[in-house]
Every structure is written in structure tokens, then in C-alpha cells.
Amino acid sequence: MSLLEVENLTTYYKLKEGYVRACENVNLKLEKGEALGLVGESASGKTTAALSLVKLLPDNAEVRAGKISIEGRDISRAMEDELRRIRWKEIAIIFQGAMNALNPVRRVGDQIVEALRIHEKMPEKEACLRTAELFEQVEIDPDRVREYPHEFSGGMRQRVMIAMAVACNPKIVIGDEPTTALDVMVQAQVLQLLEKLRRELQMGMILITHDLSVVGETCDRVAVMYAGRIVETGPTEKVFENPAHPYTRALIAAFPNIEGKRYLAQSIPGNPPNLLNPPAGCRFHERCSQIIGPCSEKDPTAVEVSTGHMASCHLLGRL
């Protein structure tokens, strides 16, 4: 039994022009203590997929289908009350740019203490102790709990948000571009911290990112999304060394590798399709350099390339 299992998750956004098919038939699996990278470019549906798990979506979103289970317990039909319990205690989220979400006129420590008291019903003293402990866990001097957010740098504030996320020992942490707005050096520090926490607390982690290197450096498995669908998934090393889908191949080729030759890769021609009216067949076929007959007609099915490494491409079926 996996920690998290997602089957056929489909979420649409309703607009007056019709439905935006933001994420369709997404299947994910996460084991205890494992890190999964969900990568894709902007508007590929990666955030929608992850936020659909806990139904933290805008009002016009509709989760059409999908079975979500945590340790075998189905939560896809959970009501708002139950979801509220699940969020934070079982699935915690670190949002993009979350470091700006701290209230600027209240002490950083007080904000965590308050959250613990309200959500965890923790007595004040215990909450204070726990806050200090959390600060230590995210490598901030616990004496700084009495400072205000503006006295913290961007990286420190992101650490505070991470502390907040792991405060209730969640089983799963979802990081939505947790390092995007940070400097390279700070980004490396924060990623290392997340890695350390995952080991210590044995959490499952889903990292949503557009940055392949974040996945390469921290995730055990990767799922590549394109235009609302997962096109390839598998152990990170296998996928990166041996990409099976043309899209993944192009993405990896476009990544500058300082250990290789100085070379400007070809960019993928065209733009991602409009998800209001996506093309028939494989969503990537309009930009793909290797299309064959069925690409523009039939949806490709996932093919197992090697153990645990799946890709959805018609080319693979023919081999």
C-alpha cells in the first residue's frame, strides 16, 4: 500500500468560452519517505494536479474524476470539514512566494504559536516550545522567534514557511515552486534543508517545479507533465539519462550542462496548445519532430520502457 495513490485525476476550469482541460487522467504514486518531482512548463497543469489532491482550487475549478487515497483511505469524496483536517496535518503545502505570506506586523514566532494553538489546540507553553524546536529543525537560531518578518531575509522567511508546513508532522509535503524566487545560493540551501527534513521526518514529498535541476538533485522519481497530461514518469536517473518521450528529450537537451560542450540547443518550435480546445491525439504532436500516423488521431497509452519507467508516446508502441 502506497502512502499516496492518485488515479485518473481530472480537473477542469470553467470559463465562459468552455472548459479549460487543465489536468486530465493524472496517475501518481508516492511511497513513504519518497520525493516525487512534478515538472512541466507554465500552464502544464502541474499545480492544478497537486492542489486538486486537497481541493485547494479556485472557485471555477471542477474536479471531474479521480480517486485519491492516503495509505489506502479514499479521500476523494471527503467533505470540506475532513479536508480541512487533512490539509496541514496529513498533506501540508509550501506555496510559491510563500515567504511574503507572513504578517509583517506580528512577530514570526507568535504567528507559528498561534497557528499551533488554533489548529492543534496546543496549550500556549507547549506551542512555544514546539516553535523553538521547529526553528532549530529548519536551522534558524531559536532566539529569533521574537523578531519581525522584515528582519528575516527571503531565504529565512521561506525556512519559516517550511517550519510552519512541517509543524504537525504531515505525512506528505507538497512544495509548489518552493525555491523559484530565491537566489541560487539560497535555493541550494533551502533544497538541502528540505532533503534533510524529508529524511528525518520520513515524509513523502511532491515538488512542483519548472526547473529540471531541482528534480534532478532532490527527487527519487519524476513525472513530466505537458498540456495537462503526464507524458513520462519513472525513477529520476532513468528518465533523465534515457528520456523516452520526445518532449522530455527536448527539455533535457535544452538544459545547459556546464560539464558538456558549449552548445545552444534547438528550442521546441511553437507554443503549448490552448487547453480550451486541445488538439486531438497526442497533445504534443503539433510540436513534435517525429510524428507518425496515429499521433494526431489517437491518445497514446502509457508504455513501460523499463521497470517503473513509463512514457506515453506512439513511437514506443511500435518498437
Partner: protein, 336 residues
């Protein structure tokens, strides 16, 4: 496509010496009541470098290093408080209004965010035609239209006429940045300052924009000052790289030597965290502690010493000299 160093050794297009941009720090209400002297922000604190004709020089550093301010000071979008900027042998800081206007056609700028750097209420045509109209470069409307079409085509936008009446929000991210580039190209500049031109774009369209910029250098001999925080990008497109820390250049050299044989401890740390597509042993990363300090309180001596893993007592007291360590490779550290 392989990128070689094609900078022409003889022709120095732009020479910056001892450039300084200081401004008064914003004061709190209380301290202004108490009539305290405003503190100085030393955003750019003495820079020396030059850009040859047809060269791409990359200015890399973390946020707060002063790289963007440097770029703006060169174009006099921010007034430098000291030092010299020479463009084609002329002193840019001494330019009068008329000469400055002409300079603005010779030196152009491309901004980071193609969503913010284009006027949302200006059509594609009017965005590209504007520099021509402002500077009265063309005699008539036909000529303007010709130049606009040429610039859009050069920027890699096919069927430019169909785009004329579109608004920026009707274009994709890549198209927008190409439009911004067309807006710079239309006046046929010799020099473009590109401030993080691809950092907001998806990986799959990044390469196209970078390739376009390099191609323009190859075909039209345009020189670039390429500002980025991403060292792997810097290495990919530029001929030479300058690493900035807290308003100063700590290292400058050819792209390959700076990345492959970095001299300065700061560069070494930055290079060690350049992302690669595989798991890296944490011990291989030279993570620096803390973050870049505020340019209001610049440390004494070597400004990097509080974070430097190799700092010694000399670093606290004596500011290292920026000198040529090896031919064409400059650095500012006592121990290189």
C-alpha cells in the same frame, strides 16, 4: 552551433572605469525626525571592465550585487555618481541632451519581464515604431512600416504584418520577448543591455531567444551586456563573464576559464551550486552561509570575508586589489 570567442580584440566599444552609483538610503520616519544623516547605499562601488565590438559580456551575481544598477548606469538611466563610461571613445557621462538622444539609438535595452516591459495598451506595430517616431528617423510612414517589418522579421517573428494590431497580452511569452527585441533592433543599435532576458521564460523557448541574440551578434555585430543570475546561461552565451558581489567585480575572465577554473572563493562557491541534472553529493557543494549583506553596511576589508570559507585576518582589514592574475583573467582576492 558552437560559440567561439569572436570579440574583436582591437575595437573596444564600451569602457567602464571606476564606475560608482551611490544613493541615499530610504530613511525611517523616526530617524528623519531625529535629523540623522541618511546612509549611503553603495549599489555599485567601483567597477572596471570593457566590452569589445561584437562581444557578449556577462555580468553575473546574486540579487543585490548591483548588476542591474550597473547596466542602467551605463545607459544613464540611473545617473552614476562617479567614474567614467566611454562609448566609442566618447565620455557618456558628459553627453548633453542632444548627444544623449543619439546615444539612446546606439545603445538599447531589453528587460527581464516581457509581461511588464511592454505597454499593455500599445499594439505590436506602435511598440516597434515608437523609437523611430520619437527620434524622427524615418521620412514617411512607408519607411517606418518597412523598418518595423524588418525588425520584427529579424527578431524571428514570421508574418509580422499579421501581428501589427495585436496587443502584448495576445502574444505568447516567447513572442513578447521577441517583440521587445524587435523594439530594440529597429533603431539598429551597436550595443544592447539585456537584463535577465530569459529568466521569466520556459526552458523550451529560452534557447530560441538566446540563439536569436547570439545570431544577431554574429550577423550585425551587436555587442551585449548580458545580466543574469544564472551562471550556466552566462557560460552558454557569453564570451567573457564578470562575477559581481556587493557592487564590485570579484572575478572576470573568459567564460570557459571562469566556470572551469574559477579563482575567487565566491565564484568557486557559485559554480559549485550550478544546477546539473543529477544528484550531487552535498559535500561537493560549497554552500555559503547566510545571504548577501545589505549594501548599506558593506563589510570592511574584503567585502566577501564574512561569508568566505577561506577568510583570514588580513581579509578583514585590507581590501584586495582587483588585478590581472593571468592574461585576461582578473580577480580581487588576497590569495589568488
Amino acid at each position: 552551433m558552437d560559440i567561439n570567442n569572436r570579440g574583436d580584440e582591437q575595437l573596444e566599444l564600451l569602457k567602464v572605469s571606476n564606475l560608482e552609483v551611490h544613493f541615499a538610503a530610504r530613511q525611517g520616519f523616526l530617524s528623519s525626525l531625529l535629523n540623522k544623516q541618511p546612509k549611503q547605499v553603495r549599489a555599485v562601488d567601483g567597477l572596471d571592465f570593457s566590452i569589445r565590438k561584437g562581444e557578449i559580456l556577462c555580468l553575473a551575481g546574486e540579487s543585490g550585487s548591483g548588476k542591474t544598477t550597473t547596466g542602467k548606469a551605463i545607459l544613464r538611466l540611473v545617473e552614476p555618481t562617479g567614474g567614467e563610461v566611454c562609448f566609442k571613445g566618447e565620455d557618456v557621462i558628459a553627453f548633453n541632451r542632444q548627444r544623449l538622444r543619439r546615444f539612446r539609438q546606439e545603445a538599447q535595452i531589453i528587460f527581464q519581464d516581457p509581461y511588464e516591459s511592454l505597454n499593455p495598451r500599445q499594439t505590436v506595430f506602435s511598440t516597434v515604431a515608437e523609437p523611430l517616431e520619437v527620434n524622427r528617423i524615418c521620412k514617411n510612414n512607408e519607411q517606418i512600416e518597412e523598418r518595423v517589418i524588418e525588425a520584427l522579421t529579424d527578431a524571428g517573428l514570421s508574418n509580422p504584418q499579421e501581428l501589427f494590431l495585436r496587443y502584448p497580452h495576445e502574444l505568447s511569452g516567447g513572442q513578447r520577448q521577441r517583440l521587445a527585441i524587435a523594439g530594440a533592433l529597429v533603431v539598429k543599435p551597436d550595443f544592447i543591455m539585456a537584463d535577465e532576458p530569459v529568466s521569466m521564460l520556459d526552458l523550451s523557448i529560452r534557447a530560441g531567444i538566446l540563439k536569436l541574440m547570439v545570431d544577431l551578434r554574429d550577423q550585425k555585430g551587436i555587442s551585449y551586456l548580458f545580466i543574469t543570475h544564472d551562471l550556466s546561461l552566462a557560460w552558454l552565451v557569453s564570451d567573457r563573464i564578470a562575477i559581481m558581489y556587493l557592487g564590485k567585480i570579484v572575478e572576470l575572465g573568459s567564460a570557459d576559464t571562469v566556470i572551469r577554473q574559477p579563482l575567487h572563493p565566491y565564484t568557486r562557491a557559485l559554480v559549485s551550486v550550478i544546477p546539473v541534472l543529477k544528484r550531487v553529493m552535498p559535500s561537493d557543494k560549497k554552500l555559503l552561509q547566510g545571504e548577501t549583506p545589505d549594501p548599506v553596511n558593506i563589510p570592511t576589508g574584503c567585502r566577501f570575508h564574512p561569508r568566505c570559507p577561506e577568510a583570514q585576518s588580513r581579509c578583514r582589514e585590507e581590501e584586495p586589489l582587483y588585478r590581472e592574475v593571468m592574461p585576461g583573467h582578473y580577480g580581487a582576492c588576497h590569495f589568488i
